[in-house]
């Protein structure tokens, strides 16, 4: 089952890219994602208002309908305003910035740690392997929200602490795949050849084994980014994640929740819609990546 034709692992990158783009769902996902990333990166340039600048916010403008004009007459609130009179469109752009940074940052950090530990486990075997893999089992068997509650009860809220929690939850997925993949690669001829040449272990692992393990890890990375963004939003919604001064999408949704019951739906609906768009876009891209990169899905 795990024997994979060698040719499929070393497919030229541009043909993989071409195959990736052939699916319409992947194109939609990629386009949506590009739009969101541009919005997040250029938030200070695009947003009509700096939502963190208290001088720019007028409390009298609180909870205005989408499309209203500010009392100063200089801004049109495209998506309305929140409970403090912030322009919701601006707040969403800045919130998206926080959410994406946390999601991508934690996925990268977890990937680095997880892949390294996975390779070490595959390489050393024995006690170290068993130790690392039991840790992986433990983390993967417990519900993620439980570990998150424990970590944040311990550390308190804050962006850094959320990232730390997400890394703790995510590294196990990379480690398990990296290990399994490395064990397969270990049996290959090129591996024997590299060893025969007397190359140092670190070089064999990082320059020869790792690149061959990358395709499935990339798929995991995409899905973990989506998972991280969801979990961060959930934790922030529960009041355990992002601090009030740096609201992520989850916190914006939470802030709007109290107004929802009185019919002012937009305060949490639009941040929610943005969150949804981000998660769906990443999942579409991730799913297509899996179809293109995973040789087992090729049929």
């Amino acid at each position: 089952m795990t024997t994979v034709p060698a040719a499929s692992a070393r497919r030229p990158a541009n043909s993989a890219l071409r195959r990736f783009l052939r699916a319409p769902s992947a194109l939609i996902g990629l386009g949506l994602l590009a739009l969101l990333v541009i919005g997040a990166v250029f938030a200070p340039q695009i947003a009509p208002q700096n939502p963190f600048d208290l001088a720019a916010i007028d409390v009298l403008d609180a909870r205005m309908m989408p499309g209203s004009v500010s009392s100063g007459g200089d801004i049109t609130y495209l998506l309305g305003t929140d409970g403090q009179g912030r322009d919701l469109f601006s707040a969403i752009l800045y919130g998206l910035r926080t959410s994406l940074t946390v999601g991508v940052g934690s996925a990268l950090l977890a990937g680095l740690i997880g892949i390294l530990l996975g390779l070490i486990a595959a390489w050393s075997g024995g006690f170290i392997d068993a130790l690392i893999m039991r840790l992986v089992d433990l983390i993967m068997s417990l519900p993620s929200i439980l570990i998150a509650l424990l970590m944040l009860a311990l550390l308190g809220r804050g962006i850094g602490n959320v990232v730390l929690t997400l890394v703790l939850l995510e590294w196990a997925y990379y480690a398990r795949t990296a290990r399994a993949q490395a064990l397969v690669e270990r049996k290959r001829d090129y591996f024997e050849a590299a060893r025969g040449l007397g190359l140092p272990t670190s070089r064999i692992l990082l320059r020869h084994v790792l690149p061959n393990c990358l395709p499935p890890l990339l798929v995991i990375a995409a899905l973990q980014v989506a998972r991280a963004i969801t979990l961060e939003a959930t934790l922030s919604f529960l009041g355990l994640g992002a601090p009030v001064t740096q609201p992520s999408l989850g916190l914006l949704i939470a802030n709007g929740f109290q107004f929802m019951l009185s019919g002012e739906y937009w305060i949490s609906f639009f941040p929610g819609l943005t969150l949804l768009a981000a998660i769906v876009a990443i999942n579409l891209v991730g799913d297509r990546l899996r179809e293109v990169l995973d040789p087992r899905a090729l049929k």
Partner: protein, 324 residues
């Protein structure tokens, strides 16, 4: 079989031990409770006396043993906020959470099995593709966001169902239950649907995959050749065979459903243990947080252990594999 059982129980105990160690080091040993309990103008002598009385001058391993032995006797300290034993507080709130989790699981079966069956039997139909897409969404949508949409639609716009609380309850065996009154059901419906979202998708996936796997097998074709009615084949031959993995996965999911109830309880103001833990984390009510984490992890481990054992017991193929 016995060897496997012992190994599995040891594994379960190890997880509980590891969690208790983490909780102890993280929540119990960090910071000095004496600072919280003493008046600001207390003398050094009073301070030293209190520290000795609480056993905080002992080595860490001895403190852990004390902590563990009182935990085993159900004593994890008193809540700072409610001033009642933390374990009692959790156990009082747990039935509401369990009620919600079971209701969600039942919804998952009622909704997921027929949809999965349909998608598996007629994979080419448009509605099956819709079910597939829906199940992908169910996996990736954040639960709390769906909960908000449910409230927005059914409580605010349509005004059909209440958005918060448990409604009228009936006391049975000293515990309040919502599912015994009509009003309670109306309160239970939205939270249960919300919590079941992920599981519905899971059940759809599993049922569909199971049907696809079983359908081309000889015994199904033989049943068809014998001229059995289609409904009978589906219920007696196909469904029966995919029930074991389905029930196993749902059983294993029950533990995480209880943990994830935190989110749903917070949205729908459902007065269960999840709502309590959030309030306690924000109020820095450490004994309650400690008690919650230990109780839920223990519950989780026990559920998984029981499901695992039952699975081995029910499925002869796995049983033989284990003894081989």
């Amino acid at each position: 079989m016995l060897g496997w059982l012992l190994q599995r129980v040891a594994q379960a105990l190890l997880v509980i031990f590891a969690m208790s160690l983490v909780v102890f080091l993280g929540l119990h040993a960090v910071g000095n409770p004496a600072d919280l309990l003493l008046a600001p103008d207390a003398t050094q002598i009073e301070r030293a006396e209190l520290i000795a009385r609480l056993g905080l001058d002992r080595p860490l391993w001895e403190q852990y043993l004390n902590f563990a032995s009182s935990a085993l006797q159900g004593d994890l300290g008193r809540s700072f906020v409610y001033n009642v034993p933390a374990v009692t507080l959790i156990l009082q709130r747990l039935p509401a959470t369990l009620e919600l989790a079971f209701a969600a699981t039942i919804f998952a079966i009622i909704l997921g099995v027929p949809l999965g069956l349909y998608a598996g039997l007629y994979p080419e139909r448009a509605f099956s593709k819709l079910i597939q897409t829906g199940s992908i969404l169910g996996f990736s949508l954040p639960t709390f966001w769906v909960g908000l949409l449910l409230i927005m639609t059914f409580s605010v716009s349509l005004g059909w169902l209440p958005a918060s609380g448990r409604g009228e309850t009936v006391r049975v065996f000293g515990v309040e239950w919502s599912f015994l009154t009509l009003n309670g059901w109306r309160h239970l419906l939205l939270p249960a649907i919300n919590l079941s979202l992920f599981k519905v998708s899971l059940v759809i996936r599993l049922t569909r995959a199971g049907v696809r796997e079983v359908l081309p097998l000889d015994y199904v074709r033989f049943a068809r050749a014998k001229g059995l009615r289609r409904g009978r084949i589906v219920v007696m031959h196909i469904l029966r065979n995919i029930m074991i993995p389905l029930v196993t996965v749902l059983g294993l999911e029950l533990g995480s459903t209880i943990a994830f109830a935190v989110v749903t309880e917070s949205i729908f103001a459902w007065p269960g243990s999840g709502k309590l833990i959030l309030d306690s984390i924000n109020a820095l009510d450490r004994p309650v947080v400690t008690a919650y984490l230990l109780v839920v992890v223990t519950l989780f481990v026990i559920i998984n252990l029981v499901v695992d054992i039952l699975y081995r017991f029910l499925d002869p193929r796995v049983r033989e594999e284990a003894s081989a």
